[in-house]
Structure formats: structure tokens, C-alpha cells
Amino acid sequence: MTVSEPILRIENLSVALPEGLDRKHAVHDVSLEVHRKQIVCVVGESGSGKSVTAAAVMRLLPEKVLRITGGAIHLEGEDIAAASPARLCELRGNRIAMIFQEPLTALNPVMRVGEQIAEVLRIHRPQMDHRQIEARVVELMADVQLPDPDRLARAYPHQLSGGQRQRVMIAMALALEPALIIADEPTTALDVTTQAQILRLLRELLTKHDSGVLMITHDFGVVADIADHVVVMQQGEVVERGTPDKVLAAPEHPYTRALIEAVPRFRYRPEPERREAAVLAVEGLSLTYRSTSFLGAKRETRALDTVSFSLAPGETLGVVGESGSGKTSLAKTLLRFETPDSGRILFQGQDIAGLAGSALLQMRRHIQMVFQDPYKSLNPRRRIGQSLIEGPVQHGLSVGEAVKRAEDLMELVGLRRDALDRFPHEFSGGQRQRICIARALAMEPSVIVADEAVSALDVSVQAQVLRLFEELQRRIGFAMIFVTHDLRVASNICDRIAVMQRGRIVEIGPAQRVFEAPEEAYTRELLAAVPGFARKVAAVA
């Protein structure tokens, strides 16, 4: 093997899809190389074939469904596309290791994490004795900056935080210093601050180890932060490749340009001039989740802690924060899916915090919700039309009028008037989210609460839906509470921002002021963790 020989060389790889789908190949004629100490990012939207490529290199494809039909995968010169199952077991974990997207489900829930790291050593280094293995596990856990490795090694995965779990996965991958580490969306399931820490850790580790990294991601921010080389995939094919500077700054392929264009950037709405009386005012709202265990031990979680704010008609308030900050609890409480322990929710002057029964049902039409997952928020067994007229008919509109309104709304959100008799599965994710918006608007609400309403969508679709929200708001004039973890998205659509941490609003103010001159340390921490942020600021300066 010569010095210049790459660790991984994929040549003309093709993976067939089962018959009867809209395209023949999950991956078609893909070639790429990964060198020592190099991080290669494969980037693309869902369905681009990026994860199939990663799984093919591990030979972890469900091979009855997804068959490698052509090409070669050379790992340190050996073609693993043709390796025997026994040889694959020798290579996996040893010369090639993988880090998965969701660290909670990727770890065995009933095995201690130390044992899970040790297992790699036991499989591939049978000559190591018990004490050596134990020492090596502690060393590895310290390497990935896990606190108190001796104690943590004896913990189970559910007892760790998301970031700690991903560190365990990384320790497992590094255990035998493999030639190649494949990371499939390793930070997507994590909070932004944790994501930034994990990316920094990966970079640092490569200065110590000799491995190459093949990283799969959908996020150009991650690419900007970490990649040495970028490969852009669309519909199973490579459309562009190059250094991140070149690809990000001067993309050649129209698809790459469109993708980069769609990445949300910090961009602010003009400040609204007038301030009318609030349509919604929240005063000292607190919510505690209580659970009683089998043996009677009581657990209390403070989800909301004296939250106060007000919302003017036509205004959008962004609620941002990490998971567990209470932003979704706030949305649920405003919609009265939860009843607060204390505090008031004044809707047009009336306190709705304690409403029940038919008064609650009547109030609900005025505050509507758009949910995160467009695949789950429409009843799969009911036609779109049925979902759209259900609410208005319940509140007294005749079926004929409700259908008319539904047709108008379909058009308003950019869909065909005559699509009302179709089922949800006939629509794409972005289209479904438009339908959900139409369903909310059919109630002619004064306030819309959108809970991570664009988070499950691909970036290009995300941008379209955001534009739709903005346009509708201009035309109809509802006020909106926009809950999101993505500060860039929030800056696009929100007039004001409330930053939440541990159930409290730590900072609230006009979007531009909060993001450009944050007063709180926590807000600064969140901003610093936004992928690609440092580079963007540098570019602006």
C-alpha cells in the first residue's frame, strides 16, 4: 500500500431498490475517497441515498431489499463489497466502525455502557485479559471527555444524557483505532450546544488518531464546521464534490445552489410600528408534571416556571430553547391540553387557564395548532376534505359552506382545490404540512401555535413552508407563537424572541436585538452553537 492510497475508495457503487418504486437505484454509480485524518461529508436531503451509501460500506444493508448491484468498496485495499460474512465480522468494529444518528436506540438498553465498549475489545482482542480491558474502557471514556469514567461505565444508557450517549458511541467506535469511522447524522438528534461539543470532539480526536471519517449529514452548517471534503448527493447520484470553501461559496450544480440557498440564515423582519392591545397575555404561568411510582415515591418536574409574556395581534413570538426547556409544554398549555397549576392565560381579556367542558371546546376554535410531524398529524383513514371541514362544521358552519372554505384554503396554501377527496398518504411531507396549516386556518383563529412546524421537513421544503406562513400572516393577520429549536428559522419569521431554559423565559425581546446583542449568557451559548455560525459572522464582518 502506497502512502497516497486512500483508506476508503468507493468505485461506481450501485445499490438497487426493490421493483415497483419510482426509481431503480437507491444509489447509482457513486465514487468517493476518504483519506487518513480526513473528514468527508456526504450531504443531501432525505432520499438522496446518502445513508444507503454509508450502510453499504458497513455492509449493513438489509440485503434482501437493497442489493449491491455494481461497483467496489475498497477498505485499505480490500474489496469489502465481496467480503465473506466471517471476514466482515473481523473488519467491523476493528478496521471500520460506525456512529449512528439516535444514540439512545443505538445502544443496548439492558447492558451497562462500559460493557458495551468492552465488548468490542472482547470480540477482536481475545488475548486481552479482564483487567486490561477494564483499564482500556476507562481510558477510552476519558478520551471522549466523559466525566467520572469509573462510575459512568457501570451506568445503563437511559441514565446518561443524549450527548453522553453519543460520546459512548464514539468511544466504542474508537476502541480499536479503526481505519475508517462512518458517522451517520451523528448530531441530528442532539441539542445545538451538544451538537457543537460533539463536532469539536470529533475534530480533536482526529488530531490524535489516524482514522478517516465518512460523515453523513443533511446540514450545511455541520459541513461548514467540520468537513475537509464535501460530496453532494441527489436522487442516489453524486452531483457535486470539492472542498467546503468551494462548494459552499461557489456551488456549480443548480441543486447544490438551491440547497445552500435554502439553508436558513439570520435574517430579520422589519420592526412593526404599531402596538395594539394584546390578543394573548400570559401571566405567571406554572406547570408541574407529577408522577407517582409503583411504590408511592412522588416525582415532580417543573415544566413551566412563572412564564409571562404578551402577544399583539398579527405578531409572531418565537419561543426557542433546547429539549427540556419547556417550550413544548408552553405550547400545550396555551392550547389547554395541559392545565396550569397557577397563572393566567388571558385571551382577548378572558382567562382561559381554568376553562373546562363546553366553554373550553368553544374557546379552542380561536387558538389553533400546527404540529411537528406532518406524517402523524392527519388522520390516515380520513380524506383531506373530512379533516378540513370537521372543525368548522362542529362549530356550526354548514357542510356546503365548510367545503367551499376548505377549497379556498387549499388554493391559499398552494394546493389544488379538487384534492379534497384524497387521503393524506397521497401527499408529500411539505404538502401535508400545508394541509395542516389550512386545517388550522379553517377555524379562522386569532392565534396559531406552531410547534416545531418545519423541523421535520427537508431544508428546501422548510423554506417554502416558512414563506407560506409569512405570506398567510400578511394576508390574514393572525398572531403566532412559533416554537422552534432552530434560531436561524426563528430569526426569519419572528418579530420577538423568547429564550427558554428549564421552564423559564430567560430573555425576551425583538428578534434582532436578542440575536445580535444578547443580554443573557445562555442566549450567547445557544448562538455560538449554531452550526456554521462563526463562519457566517466572519463572512459578514
Binding site: L21, Q362, N379, R381, Q394, F423
Partner: protein
């Protein structure tokens, strides 16, 4: 596992027929079951004459071309008894399965949706499950006296908790779905949310569970007969045909084995039909829900 992963909607018409056509075993089982049901309905035409006809000269004849299942201690044709018995046994199975499904669904829907009701109802259901179903049925039937109603009621009682638990589990998972939340958010009253958005999700697992209960109920009727508390001897059912055979089993094993295997084939057809429906309608429903009594 496939890239598009989206299961086709079950909302379309004819899910049962659709399910049957895609599974050969289920199709065959369904056809067999239909044949058995028809043979029970037209038992008189097929076997001709009175199944109770006592012919002392022909007692305990082994199976042969004249008497397919042999004759019993009174010289009656066991095959004719079995075909006639199918009427009552299948009816008991059908009624018990439908009654259990209906009652269990109502309780399950309510207890899954009304949080305050849940602990009370579930303890009662646990209590019912703790009593061995067959013993309860034997005791009830022997106290009240055998009749179609008591036997169906006794078998149904033990099935209710299983349906309740199944429906409740579906309700608990579906009620957290965003589309149910969305309906609540539109101001739809709870009663309508249950009927429109939650009940339809229960239908597929209920169809499967009802099939299994049908099988279990046929078995239960047979066991009741075998233990001596089934229908009175003048009503032919699989249970009391088997009961008659017990006394003469050593000399004439066909008196139990022939009707027993006929019964087994029927129950197996129902179970295979249930498996086929489950694979098609509800791959996640495990057999764990079906701990038959």
C-alpha cells in the same frame, strides 16, 4: 424497511377480502371454514335421517365406509352427530366472540379515554383474568343449568378482559397521536373524537382478536362438554359428543378422536384465518394478546 415505508391506508372498502386474497393459507382456511359451516347448516341433508337414531346392533362400530367416524355406545352415527353438533358449537363460538368483542370494546374505549375510570376498571379486569376461565364457566353452567345463553355468557365473561386490554392499549397509543390532538384542538367533543378518530384504529386488531376468540370459544364449549357440564344430551354439540365418548374410550377410541380431530381442524382453520388477517391487517399485534382460557 423500504425507502418509502408508507403503509397503504386501511381505510378502503373490503379490507377483509383484500386481506384474504393476499394470503393463500388464510384463503384456504376461510374456504375450509365455510365448508364446515355449510356442512353444519345442511347436516340433515348430508347425513340423512335422525342423528339420534339408536341402533343397538350397530354399537361401537369402528370407522369405515359406512360410518366415517364409527358409531358410539348407542349405535349412533358419530359423523352425523358431529355435523349436527357443529350448528350449536359454531353458534356458541360466534356469539361468544361477538359478545366479548362488543362488550370489551365499549369498556376498553371508555377506560382508555377517561383517565379516572382506568385504575378501577383495570383492577376489575385483572381480577377476572386471575380466575381460570374454564373453572368459572364450569361453575356457572353447573349452577345455573346449561342453556345457549348461560354457556355463551360463561365463555364470554372470561374473554372480556383481553378485548378490554387490547382496545385500551390502542386507545392509549392513538390518543397521543398528533391527529387526535389536532381534532381535540378543533374543539371536537370527546365522544366524537373517540368514534371518529380512535375507534377506527381499533377495528383491525379487533377483527383479528375476534377470530381468535371464536376459536377459543369453540374449544371452551368442547371442554365444558368434556368435563360434563355442557349442553344436555338431547342437543348435539361437539362438547357432548366428546363427553359421550369418554366412558367407552378404551374400547372405542374413535368416539373421542374422530370428533376431536374434526373440532381441531375447525379451530385450526379459524386460527390460521386469524393469523392471516393479523399479518395483513396488523403485523404488530402479537399473539400475547390471545392467552386463551
Amino acid at each position: 424497511m423500504s425507502a418509502n415505508g408508507q403503509a397503504p391506508s386501511l381505510a378502503r372498502r373490503g379490507i377483509l377480502i383484500d386481506a384474504l386474497l393476499t394470503n393463500r393459507v388464510a384463503l384456504f382456511s376461510g374456504a375450509l371454514l365455510l365448508a364446515i359451516a355449510l356442512s353444519a347448516v345442511f347436516a340433515g341433508l348430508i347425513t340423512g335421517g335422525d342423528p339420534f337414531l339408536i341402533r343397538p346392533r350397530l354399537r361401537l362400530r369402528p370407522p369405515g365406509s359406512e360410518f366415517w367416524f364409527g358409531t358410539d355406545a348407542l349405535g349412533r352415527d358419530v359423523f352425523a352427530l358431529v355435523l349436527h353438533g357443529g350448528r350449536i358449537s359454531l353458534l356458541v363460538g360466534l356469539f361468544a366472540a361477538l359478545a366479548g368483542a362488543a362488550i370489551g370494546t365499549v369498556i376498553g374505549l371508555l377506560t382508555g379515554y377517561l383517565r379516572w375510570l382506568d385504575p378501577v376498571v383495570m383492577r376489575v379486569m385483572d381480577g377476572i383474568m386471575a380466575i381460570p376461565g374454564i373453572l368459572f364457566a364450569v361453575a356457572l353452567v353447573s349452577l345455573v343449568g346449561p342453556s345457549l345463553f348461560t354457556i355463551v355468557a360463561a365463555i364470554t365473561f372470561a374473554e372480556i378482559p383481553r378485548v378490554t386490554r387490547l382496545v385500551r392499549a390502542v386507545v392509549l397509543s392513538v390518543r397521543e397521536e398528533s391527529y387526535v390532538r389536532a381534532a381535540e384542538g378543533l374543539g371536537i367533543p370527546a365522544r366524537l373524537v373517540l368514534l371518529r378518530h380512535i375507534l377506527p384504529s381499533c377495528i383491525a386488531p379487533l377483527i383479528v382478536q375476534t377470530t381468535y376468540m371464536f376459536a377459543a370459544a369453540i374449544l371452551s364449549e368442547a371442554v365444558l362438554g368434556f368435563l360434563g357440564v355442557g349442553f344436555p344430551p338431547d342437543i348435539p354439540s361437539w362438547g357432548n359428543v366428546l363427553a359421550e365418548g369418554r366412558a367407552v374410550f378404551q374400547r372405542a377410541p374413535w368416539t373421542i378422536i374422530a370428533p376431536g380431530l374434526f373440532l381441531a381442524v375447525t379451530v385450526m382453520a379459524v386460527n390460521l384465518l386469524g393469523d392471516g388477517l393479523r399479518d395483513r391487517l396488523d403485523p404488530r399485534l402479537s399473539r400475547a394478546a390471545k392467552v386463551s382460557s
